[in-house]
C-alpha cells in the first residue's frame, strides 16, 4: 500500500488570456469574485488547505495524526499571452495536476487548449505523459453569448483519454468547488504510486453517457 505522503500539491492553471484563470483561483480559495483583477504577469499563486475524501485519507495510514489529513494545495496561476509561454518551464516543474481553462464564449480560447496541453507536456515532461491528470474547465457559463457547446468540449476531452470536464462560472461560483475537488483528488493520485492510481480508474475516464447532462449549471463531471 502507498505509504508515501506529500502535504503539498502543485496545481497549474493554463489557458488563453482573460478566460478567467485568476478569477477561478480566487473564487475557489477566497470565495470571492471581483472585476478588479489586473492581468497576471509571469505567474501568480495562492495556497489552500483542502480536505480529501475518506478513501484517500485511509490510504495514508502511515501518518501519525489520526483522522482526515489537511492537504495544502498550491495553485499557480499563469499569464495567458502567448509570448509568456517560454517561461513555462520554470513554473511547470513538479506539477501534480494541470487545469486547462477556456472561455465558453470564445471559440479561440477553446482551440488553444491543444497548444496549452502540448506545451505543458513538453515543458514539464512528466514521467507518464499519457496519464498525467489534466482537468478541463469551460468558464463564464453565466454569460449569454455562449459559443462553444458542451458537446464539443466533451468530445475534445474524450479524445484526450477522457479528461474530466466541468463547466464553471467564477463569477457566480458555479461548479468551482466541485471542479477543484476533482483536481485535488487527481493531483493526489498522481502523487501516490501506481496502485493508488489504479484504485480510481473510473474517476479519470469520462463516462460516455454523461453527454446528456447538458444543463450548464449542473455537474458535468463524470466522477
Amino acid at each position: 500500500m502507498a505509504t508515501r505522503k506529500k502535504v503539498l500539491l502543485k496545481v497549474i492553471i493554463l489557458g488563453d488570456s482573460s478566460v478567467g484563470k485568476t478569477s477561478l483561483m480566487n473564487q475557489y480559495v477566497n470565495k470571492k469574485f471581483t472585476n478588479q483583477y489586473k492581468a497576471t504577469i509571469g505567474a501568480d499563486f495562492l495556497t489552500k488547505e483542502v480536505m480529501v475524501d475518506d478513501r484517500i485519507v485511509t490510504m495514508q495510514v502511515s501518518k501519525p495524526a489520526p483522522g482526515p489529513n489537511p492537504l495544502c494545495a498550491s495553485i499557480w496561476d499563469t499569464a495567458g499571452q502567448e509570448r509568456f509561454q517560454s517561461l513555462g518551464v520554470a513554473f511547470y516543474r513538479g506539477a501534480d495536476c494541470c487545469v486547462l481553462v477556456f472561455d465558453v464564449t470564445s471559440p479561440g480560447s477553446f482551440k488553444s487548449l491543444d497548444g496549452w496541453r502540448d506545451e505543458f507536456l513538453i515543458q514539464a515532461s512528466p514521467s507518464d505523459p499519457d496519464h498525467f491528470p489534466f482537468v478541463v474547465l469551460g468558464n463564464k457559463v453565466d454569460l449569454d453569448n455562449r459559443a462553444v457547446s458542451t458537446k464539443r468540449a466533451q468530445q475534445w476531452c474524450q479524445s484526450k483519454n477522457g479528461l474530466p470536464y466541468f463547466e464553471t462560472s467564477a463569477k457566480e461560483a458555479v461548479n468551482v468547488e466541485q471542479a477543484f475537488k476533482t483536481i485535488a483528488r487527481n493531483a493526489l493520485a498522481q502523487e501516490s504510486d501506481v496502485e493508488l492510481y489504479n484504485e480510481f480508474p473510473d474517476q479519470i475516464k469520462l463516462d460516455g453517457g454523461s453527454s446528456d447532462n447538458r444543463s450548464s449549471g449542473g455537474d458535468n463531471c463524470a466522477c
Binding site: S17, I41, R83
Partner: protein, 1052 residues
C-alpha cells in the same frame, strides 16, 4: 617629454632632485654611477619587471595626498629641466581653493600637451600586415569573402593540457584558430551563433579563455598577449550574434565611419575593429546620457566645465555626437552630468586672451532663449584639448543640423479631438489629493525642487549633481513627474524630434485591425482597475490609444502584457503623448527586449538577478535554490517596474528613481526586498510559502506620504510591511556596487545562455512536431535543422529578409525561411530525383509547389515535406510526385510549346524558367486565377498525402512526353545502361498506347468523340513499377546525414 598622468609609487629607487609644492623632479638611483652595487640591483629589477624607465621624471603630488602621478620623463637632465621650468613659469596653481581641483587642472593641462606633441602616424587603409592576415584567414578556413576579419591574436590552443601555439582569427561570424607545429595541424572554426558559453579564467601564469559550443565541444585558448582585449572583442561579437537571433537583425558595416575624419582614431587596426570599438563606445555613451538609440559618438575630449551657478570648475569628459554635446564628471565625490541638445545651441564662441588661467582654451556655448524675459543660459568649457578641432567638429554638426531639420517630419497638426490633453489625475481626483496634510507635504517637496532648479537650471540641460540624486530618492512631487520623467529618461529627445507622430499613429491604429489590438482590448479593464480613471471610458479610451499607437509604431513588439499596467500608471501623471513616448523609451531603451515575442530581455535579467543575488546575498541565494525559486521570483517585478506587485502610489517612487538612474534601480530594489525578507524566507518550507511571504510583504509596502490611508488588496485590509522610502534607501545605500556597467556586462553573458536555451527548446519542438510527419528520423531532422540554421544565418546577412511581425502567431518551424538557392542545394544533395541535368527544372517546380504562401521562401516544414516526398517515402509515392510535378500549372504550357527538344534540355531554358517563376512572385497577379486554383489543388494533395486516398488529375500527351524526357534524364546521366533505357522507352510506348485506349474508352462511354489522349497516375505508377532498375533508382532512400556532411565539406 610629457606623458599621460599615471599613478606611480614614490619608491626608494628614486632620488629627489627638485621639489615644489605640487611637483617633484626625480632621478633614478644608480643611473650613470658605474658598477656600484645599487646600480646593479636596479638593473636587475628593471629587467625582471621589463620596465626600463627613463632615468629622469617629474611627479605631481599634493601635500595632503599620498598619491603621486608621473607627468613627464626624460633621458637627460637638460630635457627634464626644460619641462620643470615650463611648469614653474606657466602653471599658476594658487588660484585653486582645493587640492582636487589642482590635480584636475594639472591632468587636463598635461593631457593637452601630450596630445599636441603626439606625432601623427596615419595610414589610409587597413595596414599591410592586416591585409596579409585577411588573405590568410580566407585561404586557411575557406570562408566567403564577405566575412570580414576583425582582429587576430597570437595565442595557444589547449588540447588536453598541451598548448599549441597559433593564431586566433575573429570575424563577425566566426571564431577561427589555426596552428601548424611539428607536422600537427589544428584548425578550428566556430560560428558565434553556436557558442553557448564564453568564459575567462585569470590564472597565475596566463589567462585562459574558454568557449563552449552547442554540440558541447569545449575549446580553451591561452597565452594571449592581450587577453582582456581579445576577450572583450569575443564578448562583443557573440553578443552581436545573439542580438541577431533575437531581433532577426544582422550586423551591417557602418559606412559613415569610413567617411569620418577623426584624428584621434588609431588606424593601425582593421576597419572592422574600429567599427566595433566605435559601436561599443557609442553604446556606453548613450547609456551614460540616456540618448536616443541611433546616436553615434563623434569624439571625446577632456575639459573643465565652469559651473555658472556655483562658479566652481569641474574636470571631466566632453562628448560630442550628431545631436548632442554632453559632459560627465564621474568623480565619486562630486558627480556631474550635463546633456545639451545641439538644436538648443544658438552660438559657440572661443574665449581669447583671458588672464585667468582657468579660461585657457575655453569655449562658451550659448543656448537659445526659451522665453523673452529670461536670460539665455550658457556653458563655459575650458582646457579643451585641440580646441580648434573641437570647434570645427561642432560647427560642422551644427551646420548639418540645420539642413537636417529642414527635412524634418511634419506631422499632421489636426489633433484628434478625442485626445486627452492632461494627465488623468486632474480629471479623476482621489481622496488623497484633497488631503491637506498630503498637500503640504507635496508643496514642501516642490519648494526643494524649485531651489535646485534655481541653482542648476530646469531645462533638459540642467546640471545633474549628487543633490539631485537625493531629491529623486525622496520622490518627485506629483506636479513635476511628467516633466522630469521625460527629461531623465531621454524620452524627451524622441518626443521633440517627432512632433505629431503620436497623433498620426493613433489615427492609423484607429482604422486598422490586428491581433495586438484584440489583445489590448482584453486587458484595458485589467490594467489599473482600482483607480477611478480606469473605471471610466475616458481613461480606458486614452489607454487604448496609447497602447494601439505603440503597437503600430513597433510591430515587432506589438503588445505585451505588462505594458498595459505601465501605460495606465503613466497616464495618471502624463498626457497621452508623453505617456506614449515614455512607454516607447522603456520598451526600446531602458528595458531592451523585455516585451518582444519571447520576453527575452526579461529572461536575461532574471539570470542577471540570480548572479547578483549570488554575489551580494549568498545566504539568500542558498535559500532560494533550496526552494527551487531561482530565476522566477522577480519576473513580474521587473516586467512592470513593481507596479503590479505593490500599490501604485508606492511603486511610483521606484518608477521616479528608475527613470533617473536606469535599469539598475530595479535590481537594487529587488535585492533590497530579498535582503529585508531574509529571516522570513529562511523559515519557508516550500516554494509556495516563499512566494506567499514575498507577496504579502510586497502588498504591505506603503508610501510615507499617505500615512493615514489604509492598504487594501482585493478588498481586504492588509498589514503594512515597510515604507517604499525605506526600501529605496536601503537599496541605494547597500547595493551601490550594482551599477549600469556591471549589469550590461552580466546581460551579455546571460543573453547568450537565454538565447541558446530558447533555440534549444525551439529546435526540440520543431523536431517533435515534424517527426509526426514521418518523413525523417529525429536525427535526420536535427541535422537538417542544424544545416539550415547555419545557412540561414549567413543568408540573412546577404539578403535582407523582412523581419516577421511579433503578432502573427507562428509555428516554431516558421522562423526558418529557406530561399530557392538553399533549397536547390539541399534537394540536389539528398534526393535521387535530382541526380541529373534536369534538376533545375524539377527543383523550381517542387519549390513552387511547396511554397504555400508564395513568398519565395519555404519554411522548415515545407522543406522537409519536399525533401521527404522525393527521397524517403516509398517508391509509389515518389512516382506520383514525379507525375504531379508535370501537371499544370507547375509545368507551364509555355515550356511545352518548344518543339525543339535540344532547347528544352539546355540549361538556359531551365534558368529562364526559374527566373520566370520568381518574376511571377514579384507580381503574383500574372498567374491567372484558374491556374492558381489548380495549384492550390495540387498543394492540398501534397499536404494531405497520407490522410486521404488521393485522386490526381489526368495527364495530357504533351505533358507525358515531358515526363518521359525527365525519366530519361534521370537515368541517362547517372548510369550508362542500355537495358534500362530500353525499358523506359518500352514502358513509354506502352503508356502512349494506354492513353489512346483511354481516349477511345471515354469517347465510347460518354458517347462523344472529342476526348483527348490521357493517362492517369495509377496507370503511370503501375507501369513504371514494372521496371526493376527504375524502381531501385528512384526508390533509393536518400542518406541525409551523409549528404549534409558532404555539403558542409564543400562549403567550409
Amino acid at each position: 617629454m610629457w606623458v599621460n598622468p599615471k599613478e606611480v609609487y614614490a619608491n626608494t629607487l628614486w632620488h629627489n632632485e627638485k621639489l615644489s609644492v605640487y611637483f617633484l623632479l626625480q632621478h633614478r638611483v644608480g643611473h650613470g654611477q658605474g658598477n656600484k652595487l645599487s646600480s646593479l640591483l636596479v638593473g636587475t629589477f628593471d629587467s625582471l619587471f621589463e620596465t626600463k624607465p627613463s632615468p629622469y621624471r617629474i611627479l605631481h603630488q599634493t601635500p595632503k595626498s599620498e598619491k603621486c602621478y608621473e607627468i613627464a620623463c626624460a633621458l637627460t637632465e637638460s630635457d627634464i629641466l626644460k619641462d620643470w621650468e615650463w611648469l614653474e613659469n606657466n602653471l599658476d596653481l594658487k588660484i585653486f581653493e582645493n587640492e582636487d581641483d589642482v590635480t584636475d587642472f594639472v591632468f587636463c593641462k598635461i593631457k593637452s600637451l601630450v596630445a599636441t606633441n603626439a606625432s601623427e602616424t596615419l595610414d589610409e587603409e587597413n595596414s599591410e600586415s592586416f591585409k596579409d592576415a585577411t588573405i590568410k584567414f580566407h585561404r586557411l578556413f575557406n570562408i566567403s569573402r564577405d566575412t570580414n576579419l576583425v582582429c587576430y591574436y597570437s595565442c595557444s590552443y589547449l588540447k588536453n593540457i598541451v598548448p599549441h601555439q597559433g593564431w586566433l582569427y575573429l570575424s563577425v561570424d566566426y571564431l577561427c584558430f589555426y596552428s601548424y607545429l611539428l607536422g600537427i595541424e589544428y584548425k578550428i572554426v566556430v560560428r558565434w551563433t553556436d557558442v553557448i558559453n564564453l568564459d575567462k579564467n585569470t590564472g597565475v601564469l596566463t589567462d585562459t579563455i574558454k568557449v563552449i559550443t552547442r554540440d558541447k565541444r569545449e575549446y580553451r585558448f591561452c597565452m594571449f598577449l592581450h587577453s582582456s582585449e581579445a576577450f572583450d572583442l569575443m564578448k562583443q561579437l557573440v553578443n552581436i550574434a545573439m542580438k541577431g537571433i533575437i531581433n532577426d537583425r544582422w550586423f551591417n558595416k557602418d559606412h559613415d565611419l569610413l567617411l569620418k575624419a577623426n584624428k584621434y582614431v588609431s588606424k593601425k587596426q582593421s576597419f572592422m575593429k574600429r567599427d566595433l570599438d566605435a559601436r561599443a563606445m557609442s553604446e556606453s555613451y548613450r547609456l551614460l546620457f540616456r540618448l536616443p538609440l541611433n546616436e553615434k559618438l563623434n569624439g571625446i575630449t577632456n575639459a573643465l566645465l565652469i559651473n555658472m551657478y556655483t562658479k566652481k570648475s569641474v574636470f571631466g569628459q566632453l562628448y560630442l555626437s550628431q545631436n548632442f554635446l554632453c559632459f560627465n564628471s564621474s568623480k565619486t565625490k562630486d558627480p556631474l552630468n550635463v546633456v545639451i541638445p545641439l538644436c538648443d545651441v544658438s552660438q559657440v564662441e572661443k574665449i581669447e586672451h583671458n588672464k585667468d588661467m582657468s579660461f585657457d582654451n575655453a569655449v562658451i556655448i550659448t543656448l537659445k532663449q526659451t522665453s523673452a524675459n529670461e536670460k539665455p543660459s550658457f556653458f563655459i568649457f575650458s582646457q579643451i584639448l585641440k580646441r580648434d578641432f573641437f570647434l570645427k567638429n561642432i560647427s560642422d554638426l551644427l551646420g548639418s543640423l540645420e539642413t537636417r531639420s529642414s527635412f524634418k517630419f511634419q506631422g499632421t497638426d489636426s489633433i484628434s479631438d478625442k485626445e486627452i490633453k492632461q494627465p488623468l489625475r486632474f480629471i479623476f481626483g482621489t481622496k488623497d489629493q484633497d488631503n491637506s496634510i498630503i498637500k503640504i507635504k507635496q508643496r514642501t517637496k516642490e519648494v526643494k525642487w524649485e531651489l535646485y532648479f534655481n541653482d542648476h537650471g530646469d531645462s533638459i540641460s540642467m546640471y545633474k549633481t549628487k543633490e539631485l540624486v537625493k531629491l529623486v530618492l525622496d520622490g518627485i512631487p506629483e506636479s513635476l513627474r511628467s516633466n522630469l520623467w521625460l527629461k531623465f529618461s531621454g524620452a524627451y529627445h524622441d518626443m521633440v524630434a517627432n512632433p505629431g507622430l503620436y497623433n498620426e499613429l493613433v489615427n492609423i491604429a484607429s482604422t486598422t485591425k490586428s491581433i495586438s489590438h484584440d489583445e489590448i482590448e482584453r486587458d484595458l479593464h485589467r490594467s489599473l482597475p482600482e483607480h477611478p480613471a480606469f473605471q471610466s471610458e475616458i481613461g480606458i479610451n486614452a489607454l487604448r490609444r496609447v497602447l494601439t499607437a505603440y503597437a503600430t509604431k513597433n510591430p515587432q513588439i506589438g503588445y505585451c502584457q505588462a505594458m498595459n499596467i505601465i501605460a495606465s500608471v503613466l497616464l495618471i501623471y502624463c498626457t497621452e503623448e508623453e505617456a506614449f513616448w515614455l512607454l516607447a523609451c522603456i520598451c526600446e531603451n531602458m528595458l531592451p527586449d523585455y516585451y518582444n515575442n519571447k520576453v527575452v530581455g526579461a529572461l536575461v535579467d532574471q539570470r542577471v538577478m540570480d548572479n547578483l543575488i549570488a554575489n551580494n546575498l549568498p545566504f539568500i541565494y542558498d535559500i532560494l535554490s533550496r526552494l527551487g525559486l531561482i530565476q522566477m521570483i522577480s519576473l513580474s517585478w521587473f516586467l512592470t517596474i513593481f507596479l503590479s506587485v505593490m500599490n501604485y502610489q508606492s511603486a511610483i517612487h521606484i518608477v521616479d528613481w528608475f527613470f533617473f538612474d536606469g535599469a539598475k534601480v530595479i535590481f537594487q530594489v529587488a535585492l533590497s526586498i530579498l535582503e529585508m525578507n531574509h529571516k522570513r524566507l529562511a523559515c519557508c518550507r516550500d516554494d509556495g510559502e516563499a512566494m506567499q511571504t514575498l507577496c504579502n510583504y510586497l502588498s504591505g509596502i506603503y508610501n510615507e506620504e499617505f500615512e493615514q490611508s489604509d492598504l487594501y488588496k482585493d478588498g481586504d485590509k492588509i498589514d503594512r510591511s515597510v515604507s517604499v522610502q525605506e526600501l529605496i534607501n536601503n537599496g541605494y545605500t547597500k547595493f551601490k556596487s550594482v551599477n549600469s556597467k556591471m549589469i550590461e556586462n552580466l546581460r551579455v553573458m546571460n543573453r547568450l545562455k537565454v538565447v541558446q536555451s530558447l533555440e534549444d527548446g525551439n529546435e526540440k519542438n520543431i523536431v517533435r512536431l515534424l517527426h509526426l510527419d514521418n518523413y525523417f528520423s529525429s536525427n535526420e531532422l536535427m541535422d537538417l535543422l542544424k544545416f539550415v540554421r547555419e545557412e540561414v544565418v549567413s543568408v540573412h546577412k546577404r539578403t535582407h529578409v523582412q523581419p516577421l511581425k511579433a503578432e502573427t502567431p507562428m509555428e516554431p518551424y516558421e522562423s526558418y525561411r529557406i530561399d530557392f538557392h538553399l533549397f536547390e542545394t539541399m534537394f540536389t544533395a539528398i534526393s535521387p530525383l535530382a541526380k541529373n541535368s534536369g534538376t533545375n527544372n524539377l527543383s523550381v517546380r517542387l519549390f513552387k509547389l511547396m511554397d504555400m504562401n508564395d513568398d519565395g521562401f519555404l519554411n522548415f516544414r515545407e522543406l522537409t515535406i519536399a525533401l521527404g516526398l522525393t527521397s524517403t517515402v516509398d517508391v509509389t509515392t515518389r512516382l506520383k510526385i514525379l507525375y504531379l510535378l508535370h501537371l499544370s500549372p507547375l509545368l507551364s504550357n509555355d515550356s511545352l510549346s518548344s518543339t525543339d527538344p535540344n532547347i528544352s534540355e539546355s540549361g538556359a531554358e531551365y534558368a529562364s524558367d526559374a527566373a520566370e517563376y520568381f518574376n511571377t512572385n514579384i507580381s503574383s497577379d500574372i498567374i491567372c486565377e484558374s491556374n492558381l486554383n489548380d495549384l492550390q489543388t495540387l498543394r492540398s494533395i501534397t499536404t494531405n498525402w497520407k490522410k486521404s486516398s488521393i485522386c490526381l488529375p489526368i495527364m495530357s500527351e504533351d505533358r507525358f512526353i515531358e515526363l518521359c524526357k525527365t525519366m530519361y534524364d534521370l537515368i541517362g546521366n547517372s548510369t550508362i545502361d542500355q537495358e534500362i533505357l530500353n525499358n523506359i522507352s518500352k514502358i513509354s510506348t506502352n503508356l502512349l498506347e494506354l492513353g489512346n485506349l483511354n481516349k477511345e474508352e471515354s469517347n465510347k462511354s460518354e458517347n462523344r468523340n472529342d476526348s483527348e489522349w490521357f493517362i492517369n497516375a495509377e496507370q503511370f505508377v503501375a507501369t513504371a513499377l514494372t521496371v526493376q532498375k527504375l524502381v531501385e533508382f528512384i526508390g533509393a532512400r536518400g542518406n541525409v546525414l551523409k549528404a549534409l556532411q558532404e555539403l558542409r565539406n564543400i562549403y567550409m
